[in-house]
Amino acid sequence: MADDQVILLDYWVSVFGMRVRIALAEKEIKYESREEDLLGNKSDLLLKMNPIYKKIPVLIHNGKPVCESLIIVQYIDEIWNDRSPLLPSEPYQRAQARFWADFVDKKVAPRGVLWKKGEEQEAAKNELVETFKILEGELGDKPYFGGETFGFVDISLVTFSCWFHAFEMFGKFSMKAEFPKITEWAKRCMQRESVAKSLQDPKKVDEFVVEYRKKSLGLE
């Protein structure tokens, strides 16, 4: 695999880009990271590699693009299958991992609590709280969502942990008070180098959210 060329088209604060960073780090894959100017001009390479959605992350492996973060993570797991498995090997557990990662994409990723106002924001906040209740229950007393080892579901959710403070600010609730297990789990994940190096500083995320609300959405 020494001749592999791996490029990641990314954006510094993207939770989806962070998922791929973590997966690449877990597998110790060398890659070139290219920052896209998403709020300005998207690069020709991005438009060529992801013409359907024009979004990051895009993994370009030996010139061929893979899009959609969870699809990329599975691809990475399948290509570099000689080390640090990210998905369980047993089919039922694999199905559960895919189910919960999909749940995170459907219920956590939209982050309506940050991007809406008034009644819509309140409804989004309530849905987010319900979602975290379900996740808190699913995690239970396990160290990670998959059990003893860090894996696919953890990767799908942990990137949002640097956004937790922003959720708290705009949703007016406390992650630690309401979801102590998830809070501990996030700290545990941060002890992994792959996670610590991939996540963004929460203060910078907060600043981004405030600025994006103002400039792009016209919200205070």
Binding site: I52, H61, K64, V66, C67, E68, I71, I72, Q74, Y75, E78, I79, P91, Y92, R94, A95, Q96, R98, F99, D102, F103, I134
Partner: protein
């Protein structure tokens, strides 16, 4: 080797109109797995469904040896991995798998949602929706040409993951054409897909599962009437 699991081992909770349920059934057929089909009554959710899929409370749910699996594409992948001695559903090459997963997600995230509002839309709004669906079909035609490499299916010689993910939508696609009085699958624009649709519906694993267009149209009218009616759930 004969399939040794009894019908009790494998159950599918579903309903005939749902394209998502059809996916699970086609996948089981590909693997020649016998199963018990437990039909949900439209408008109500059984105790078994609520217990088996407490998170989303939706069909399909596959119950294998008492353990539930939800989300149609998760189910299809599970079926492929468990009954590994049967014909493969996902491509064997990881890159081809990533492409198949990408387009299956596109069908769920973009294509199917763009189809649904057409039947009750009017005028300019309808024209815009139809344009969107047609653009999607052109993209899927391109994907078909690349993926099939001259063969009959997205999966090549045999139906595979993307055939199942997209083909399951054909009943509703045709019903939408009828209800919206619009042509969507067009020989001129998407000749590959037109041919593929015929081959797909005639495939042994699919036969009988894509409902008649008329039945879906009736069902859609029933649902619309119920929603406008007394409001009882």
């Amino acid at each position: 080797m004969a399939n040794t699991s009894s019908t009790h081992d494998v159950k599918v909770l579903g309903a005939w109109p749902s394209p998502f349920v059809i996916r699970a059934r086609i996948a089981l057929n590909i693997k020649s797995v016998e199963y018990e089909f437990l039909a949900e009554t439209p408008g109500s959710k059984s105790q078994l469904l609520l217990q088996s899929n407490p998170v989303h409370k939706k069909i399909p749910v596959l119950i294998h040896r008492g353990k539930p699996i939800a989300e149609s594409l998760v189910i299809v992948q599970y079926i492929d991995e468990v009954w590994s001695s049967g014909p493969s559903i996902l491509p064997s090459d990881p890159y081809d798998r990533a492409i198949a997963r990408f387009w299956a997600a596109y069908v769920d995230d973009k294509f199917f949602p763009s189809l649904r509002p057409i039947k009750s839309a009017q005028g300019e709004e309808k024209a815009a929706l139809v344009k969107q669906v047609n653009e999607g079909l052109v993209l899927l035609e391109e994907a078909f040409q690349k993926s099939s490499k001259g063969k009959a299916f997205f999966g090549g010689d045999r139906i595979g993951y993307l055939d199942v993910a997209f083909g399951s939508m054909l009943g509703w696609l045709r019903a939408t054409e009828k209800m919206g009085e619009v042509k969507l699958l067009d020989e001129a624009k998407t000749p590959g897909l037109v041919q593929w649709a015929e081959s797909f519906c005639a495939d042994g694993a699919v036969k009988g599962l894509i409902p008649d267009t008329e039945k879906i149209v009736e069902f859609a009218k029933l649902i619309a009437a119920r929603m406008k009616g007394s409001g009882s759930s």
